[in-house]
């Protein structure tokens, strides 16, 4: 199925195409399986919303009003911790795939003179994007929003600046610090809290909102930087 990866005319192509008969038969098989699953699930009635009632009942003592942020950062905070750590490691994996000791390092992203209209538009647009990102981060506790959305929007702002050709120059230690900042803050809060409450990730009664905001700020920082580094490295490759 994936056996033969090769490159011709700059497109990485799979050349192990089976004959049409096999492909058609497998397509029919998949369609049948899809129909069966839809039929089976249409018949069986959905479950009682156990978790929904539990989550909404406990909502008031999680220090956050938005139920999704409550589930994300209080009830199932362990999942979110692992997933932010995952993003941090994937950035490292990209560095390790990109950097080859026996090769000359890669040419930097091309920077070129952007059009004057674009430049002036960006001068007004980028602060607005960062403002929107900050707002989304802040309202994450009350209305839909949160670390991931804010990080993505601010990262898209930086990417727009980079696509247009304006160079973004920042000292390299920001890279090493901020990539791991989100994970480090989350782990630090998880461990520190354990000393007061006995079990890991249990926020003390009053300070749940403050701790969640702290984690969200650090997570937004590292998500923004991670997504921007994804773009920068793919652009340099």
């Amino acid at each position: 199925m994936f056996k033969d990866i090769s490159v011709n005319n700059q497109q990485v192509v799979h050349r192990d195409t089976q004959s049409v008969v096999i492909r058609l038969s497998i397509a029919v098989l998949m369609a049948a399986l899809c129909a069966i699953t839809i039929y089976v699930l249409a018949l069986s009635e959905p479950a009682q919303p156990i978790l929904r009632n539990l989550a909404l009942a406990q909502l008031d003592n999680t220090g956050v009003d938005n139920p999704v942020t409550a589930v994300l950062l209080n009830f199932r905070s362990y999942d979110t911790l692992l997933e932010i750590a995952l993003l941090y490691v994937v950035v490292l994996s990209l560095y390790s795939c990109l950097f080859n000791p026996n090769e000359s390092n890669l040419p930097p992203l091309p920077t070129f003179e952007s059009h004057v209209i674009v430049r002036h538009f960006l001068r007004a647009f980028i602060p607005l994007i960062i403002l929107i990102g900050g707002y989304l981060l802040w309202t994450g506790a009350y209305e839909p929003g949160g670390a991931f959305q804010a990080g993505a929007i601010i990262a898209s702002g930086f990417i727009v600046v980079r696509v247009v050709g304006e160079p973004i120059i920042y000292p390299p230690w920001i890279d090493t610090l901020c990539i791991a900042l989100g994970t480090a803050t989350f782990v630090a809060v998880a461990i520190a809290v354990a000393f007061f409450e006995g079990t890991i990730l249990t926020y003390p009664a009053g300070s749940a909102a403050g701790l969640i905001l702290l984690i969200e700020i650090a997570a937004t920082l590292s998500i923004t930087l991670s997504l921007y580094i994804f773009y920068r490295m793919l652009g340099r490759l």
């Binding site: 090769s6 959905p46 991931f148 490759l237």
Partner: protein, 125 residues
């Protein structure tokens, strides 16, 4: 009630559509798209049942899907870097290598000749 069924059916259709193209799409980057579409299919199935109860939506699937979306982006970025690195390395070696020693060497004649997009694609230059 039937909008739940419709969206979960769309979710399954997207899942199996993506699965077919992950297996048989000629271009590797199309396979990456197919994996993203499979993920969206699963999330649609999950969300379709989340708001089924008289308007009070169930927050737990939403949190799961946020995690799933970020994992999907991470997977896509890693796949893209690997694909481009293969492109660059094989270009530098200037040899069209068809790899994995134990495949039989039947090469298909009518490789879809995707035209050179460089002329049209002025986004980046």
């Amino acid at each position: 009630m039937n909008d739940i069924l419709m969206y979960s059916a769309t979710g399954f259709v997207l899942f199996f559509l993506g699965l077919y193209f992950v297996a048989f799409a000629p271009l590797v980057i199309t396979r990456i798209l197919a994996i993203n579409i499979m993920g969206v299919g699963i999330f649609m199935f999950l969300v379709a049942h989340a708001n089924s109860h008289n308007g009070v939506t169930d927050p737990v699937p939403h949190a799961l899907i946020l995690t799933g979306i970020v994992v999907a982006v991470a997977g896509t970025a890693l796949a893209l870097v690997l694909v481009k690195k293969i492109q660059v390395l094989s270009h530098n070696q200037n040899v069209t290598i068809n790899s994995s020693s134990d495949t039989d060497q039947h090469t298909i004649q009518h490789t879809e000749q995707s035209p050179n997009q460089r002329t049209k694609d002025n986004l980046h230059d």
